[in-house]
Structures are given as structure tokens and as C-alpha cells.
Amino acid sequence: MSNGLNMADYLDLFLQETEEQLSILESEIGKLESEPTETRIDAIFRAAHTVKGSSKAMGFSGYAELVHEFENVLYLVRDGSMTVDSEIGELLVRTVDSMVSGKEHIASSGEDYLPEMDLIASLKMLSSGKPSAAPATSKPTQSVVWPAEVIDALHLLPNLDNVYHVKVTLDQTCVMKYVRIFMVMNALNGLGEMLASNPSQDKLEAEQFDFDADFLVALDAKEDEMLESLKAIGEVSGIVATKYEAANEASSATKVEAAVEVVKAEGVPTAEKAKRETNQTIRVDVSLLDDLMNLVGELVIDRTRLSQIGANIAAKSSDFENTDALAETVGHIARVTGELQEQIMRARMLPIDTVFQRFPRMVRDLARKLNKQVALNIEGGETEVDRSVIEGISDPLIHMLRNSLDHGLEDGADRVKAGKPEGGTITLSAQHRDNAIVIELSDDGRGIDPSKLRDKAVEKGIMTKEAADRLTDRDAQMLIFHNGFSTAKEVTDVSGRGVGMDIVRSNIQAMGGLIDLESTPGQGTKFILKLPLTVAIMGGLLARVGTVDYVMPIGSVVETLSLDSVKVQKVGKRSVMLLRGQTVPLMKVVEVFKVRESFVKESAEDYVVVVGSGDQKVGLVVDRLLGEQEVVIKSISKYCGELRGLSGATILGNGKVALIVDVNSLLEVTRGVDHGY
């Protein structure tokens, strides 16, 4: 391309934009067959159109052709002359898949992608006989009144022969209007000097314009050259360039609504500025945010440390003037650090839809494979969560969805027999609750039969028949999280290798989250995931046992009690306490976490920290409570082997290493399904 624009600079932008649009396509296209709503079709249309426009701008004509043919089929869907049946649906899905691999090809090679010919042919066949994408008609040219400053400035130029009035019209479907306009302005400035624009640059930047913009430019290059350059920019549907004539400006004075401002005008009214700032975004490399988060993590540790050192100095020194100043400065640093942490966490937030949007398509494909009818409801997709959570939650959710589809939901015939609608329903929801993210996945399937799980546990030698019979129904249901447990009668390729739920549980635990389930045989199952807002920094309750400090994730702490105030009873070999009518097993941390003798001072065992949720609770007996603190989670080296009951370590304000307790695995011990201790 010889249009003066350096395309390499735009390749990244193109790839990012295309990726975004493709993810829209991927999530929407699967739903087109079952719910061909107008909004959905429009969304698909917009996304496809954007991809086509930008691939053309980049000169990837092969890729653009693929999208173009896809678009042609969609035109027919949109105007109602074609209904998406499963065959067409399948073809469209295949096309999107091809677009995705095409994008990958472009990303890795930097070169155009040539789509499979048979796919193009199939698409063409579908849309043949109908007109292809109609070019957007350009609006009648509007005349513009340039303000007096501009006119005055013009007259300072040596001559007006090379001054052009350029009107650029964007495609009606253009999504990132400013990006296009920016490319236009860049091109104009490369070929000469842009003197003014209407609307003003600020308004353009804020996308406060319809689809056309006027520019006044003093060209160094030829008119043809300029037209070539502008045509090469994607999603530009109309370019009208006329030589500037002073008389013109004077005569056509009236019809303009927008005030025109000089290019370099400053002093935008603040209200307008503020409004603009809310929708101004930039793209940032994710690794940069990760680095920032880590640095802030270090800062959080030092902040705590600093205030401790400050307090120590204040206690010993009589230089009140300076210790006061120190305390004040430390306080300020603490506030700023807190704010900084919050802002960076916010910058790392993404809507959980980033994960969820892939599921409708997956569920649809799976349902087809399993020959089941399934409706997937997604709620709360806009809930914002930290990137680290997004990364960690995807695989567990896929496992769980597969399980629900494969094992949870009965066959259509069985459902009808049980008096349920033939099609099953799976609901996936996300919401913020108590400074945590709660994700719930429920189905209206067969539920989990506790007696089947008891039998299975005995059969697999996980526990004795007596032990299994002693389990409550709920504890028996929780067995599905046990290692090597799969109750599906046959192993299918969808799920059922007996690793799924175990991996789900350990993944969630590794993120400092909790997993719980509620299931009624015959009615359905609901899985509840409670996750921290971010995985890197966590609020924790600090407790000391012997010389070791332990951190309990604050999200799983129910309450703390003095040991004197609770009544301890013995049930068999176990100690339990009664908490408002609920029996809660007690566990001495000093016994669960056996550390070398030299570290165990006289144990005081004065407090109980109740952790868990719902009816899954355990009381941990500790020596002292040291209060709440934010901690930065550090993983423990593999050199130490597998550490049951711990999810990581952290460094406290005093420089000491504290151990982070894995509440889930402690709960397991109380359920008697784990012999790891």
C-alpha cells in the first residue's frame, strides 16, 4: 500500500479490534438459530461489518472477502427473506470459526488469510440471486460555515490554491468512529496541513458527531493522492473534496447546527470535558497491569511495615515534633497506597461476560451432541471481577457446565416421565455479595442421589460401609468433590473421567474461593462458588498458634469466639461445639498443622475462629487473635512438597512469613472423607 500510512502501526490495533468483534460474533452466532432477535442480528451485523472494514483498510482482502460473504447471508436474515435453520446456523458458526483461525493466521504471519474455497462457495450459494451488500449512500453535501478565525487564518496563507474542503462520510455501521476519523486526520496531516475541522477535534474525539465530518486542509500533495489515501481507510463510505472558495463560504451561511472551532482551540467547558472523560479509554498491555498490581502489593506490605516501625520509634523517642510528623506522613502514605491499590484493582476489572459469553455456543454444541434440549440463562454477566479471577474461573466453569449437561440433566424422555418440561434449563449467574463474587450454576435436572454416592465411595474403597452410612445426605453429596469420583454410569467424551469436580474444587481453592452445593434429588442441583474479588491481595484474619502466624481468608471467617464462652462436647473422638443450635466440629490448629516441636511454645488455645459457610463450618482453635490485615498471596515453593491445608504464604508487616489456611481442605477433614492428616 502506498498511501503514506504505516500499516504496521495499525496491525496491533486491527488485531485487538478484530478480536473484540470476533468474541461478539462467537457468543451471538450460536444463539441466532434459537433466538433470532433483531438486536442480536444487528449486533452480529455490526461486528462483522467492523471486521470487514478494518481488514479492507489493512489490505487483507482475502479475509475481508470471507467476512463479506458472511455479511451477505446475514443481509437476507436481517430483511427476513431467510430463516436460520440448523444447517444455515451450522454454516454460520463454521464461518465464524474460520474468521477466528484467520485472525490467528494474520496475527502470527502478518499476512492475509485465504479462506477455504468450499466455505466461500457455500456462503455464496446461500446468498446467490440476491443483491450483495449495498453500498451506503452518501448524504447530500452540507455546506459548512467556517468561523471567522479560520477565515482570517486562511488569508495569512501565501495562496489559497491548495486549500481543500474535504467531507468524509463514515459507514453507518462504523463502531469506532473516532479511530477512523483519527486515521483520516493523520492522513491529511501527512499530505499537508489540516487547518480546521467541523465538528471540532474535541467533539470528534468524544464521538459527538453523526457519520460525517468536514476538514479544511492545505495540501502539499496532489488531490488524487489525498483521495487515494482516504479511500484506503476502512469504513469510509464517502469522500468529497472541493477546492476552497472564499465566496462559497460567505454565501451558504445558514443550515449549520454545530459551531465550528479552530483546530487548536483550547478551553473546552469543564462540564463537557468531564462528560467526555467518562467514555475515554485507552488500551493497556495486560502485563503492565499485572506488574503494577505486584508493585502495589509490595507497597501494601511496606506500608504496614512502615506504620509499625513508626509506632516503635514513637514509643521510644521523645522527639515529638518529628514522630508526629512521621505518623502523619505514614498515615498519608497509607491512604494513598490504599487508594492506589483500589484504582489499580479497578483497572484490572473485566465484566465476567468475558468468560460467560463463550458458554452459549459451547452449551449449544454439547446439547446437540448429547441430543438434549437445553436453555442456558445467563444473569449478571456485567458483574466486574479481577482479571486473575477471570483467568482462574474459566476452566472450572467449563467442567461444571459439562457436568450439568451430561450428568445433571436427564434425557428428554426421562424428564417428561418425571413430569418436567422436555427441555432442561441451566442458569448461570454472577453477583457481588459481601466483598466477594458469588457465581451460581443451577440446573433443573435429576439432582445428586446421596445413596448412590455412598455406594460408590464404599465400592471405590474411599471409606468403609459403616463410615459411609454415618454420612449425612449432604456430606454424601459433597463426595462428588472427592478425588477420583465419577458417578456417571459410562464414561463419555463430554465428561465423566472422574477428575472434573475434583479439579474444579482444587482450582477454586487455589484462588482462595469456596465451593458449595445444594441438591435435591429429582429437582436439580445448584453449585455456589464464592470467590475473592482479586486473587493477588486478600483480606485475612491473623491468628497465632505457638510461634506461627496463620491467615484465614476473611471471606470464609464466620465469627470469632473466646474458647471459654463455648461449650465443648465430645462426639466419639471428635470435639464439637454448639453454635446457635448448629453443631460445629472443633479442630485444634496445633494438631492439624503439626510443626516441629521447637516451634511449639506452650499453647494457650484461647480462641475459636469459625470458618466456612452455610452448614459447612469448622471451629479452629488458636492461641491468639492478631487482627485483620491485607496480605499479598505468595505461592509456596514446590520444593516443600504438597502442603495439605495451606493455600499459600504471605509476608507480614514485621517481615515474618505467615501461612495462609485453606479452609476448604479443613472442611473436608471434618467430613471424614480425607485421610490426608
Partner: protein, 155 residues
């Protein structure tokens, strides 16, 4: 580049290797210097529950957690008594750092490769696996430890 030049310099007399020489009980040992990232004074460790006896716990090394092993216990000797005077040799492998507690670090030792005897006989089986070779320096026998088998679990 300059690292390797320092570590192994070829001259007329053959390949020279460098080791960190240290004392453990009444014996002397050495680690290849290229696997060592630092030597630090003893610092407080947080013990880990239900782990092998040699693993003392986690220490804070510049904001990272460092597992520290008592090398005496690891190679089957009596545990060090006065840890306060001991040193921790820090290794790094596959981006994982591990610390080994030793009694005293003596010097960086330069040995000719040909002087290292690899056909050593050890009565202690644990020792036999961990020792790469033996070198005699001024009538003191120094056992050269194999870092890879030392850090066994990390790879």
C-alpha cells in the same frame, strides 16, 4: 559471558572449576559456585506443617518466601544446634529459590577438574547419592555436593 569466563578458565594445566567451600559439623563440603545466587545470615523461618524433617520452613528473602533446609539433616548428620551463627546458601533452579543451612562458609575454592575424584566410596547411602566427587586440598578432603539431587523436588 563474563560469568562463564570466571567459572571455567582453560589454561595449560586444564579446566578449572569454582566452588563455595563450607563447613558442616566436622566435615567440609563444596557447591559449584554457578548454582549459588547468594549467601545470607541465618534469619527467622516460619515452620511448615507436616513436612520432611530437613525442611526448616520459610524465610523472608527480599519479599519472597524462601524454603530453607537444614543441610546437616538432609545429608544425615545431627541437626545444627546454634542456628543463629549459621549461614544460608541460596540456590536458584527453574526460578525457584531454595536455601541450605550450613555451619560456616569458608571461601570460594578453585579446583582443577582432573583433581576431582569421582570414584569415591561412601558408607552412607544418602551421602553417596548427593556427592558428586571428592577433592583433596592441603590434606583436607572436601566432598562436592550435587545440586540437582540436592534440590530434587524442584525440577
Amino acid at each position: 559471558m563474563s560469568d562463564t569466563l570466571e567459572l571455567q578458565s582453560e589454561n595449560e594445566t586444564g579446566l578449572e572449576l569454582k566452588f563455595v567451600r563450607f563447613q558442616l559439623a566436622d566435615e567440609q563440603f563444596a557447591f559449584p559456585v554457578d548454582s549459588v545466587t547468594g549467601i545470607i545470615n541465618w534469619r527467622e523461618v516460619t515452620p511448615l506443617p507436616n513436612v520432611d524433617e530437613h525442611l526448616l520452613g520459610l524465610a523472608n528473602l527480599r519479599g519472597r518466601t524462601l524454603p530453607v533446609s537444614d543441610l546437616r539433616v538432609k545429608i544425615g548428620l545431627q541437626s545444627s544446634v546454634a542456628k543463629q551463627d549459621a549461614f544460608i546458601i541460596v540456590f536458584e533452579k527453574n526460578q525457584t529459590q531454595v536455601g541450605m543451612l550450613v555451619d560456616e562458609v569458608l571461601e570460594v575454592l578453585t579446583v582443577k577438574e582432573e583433581d576431582i575424584q569421582t570414584d569415591h566410596a561412601e558408607s552412607n547411602l544418602v551421602m553417596h547419592e548427593l556427592i558428586q566427587g571428592i577433592v583433596n586440598v592441603d590434606d583436607v578432603l572436601i566432598s562436592i555436593l550435587d545440586v540437582d539431587s540436592m534440590l530434587g523436588g524442584v525440577a
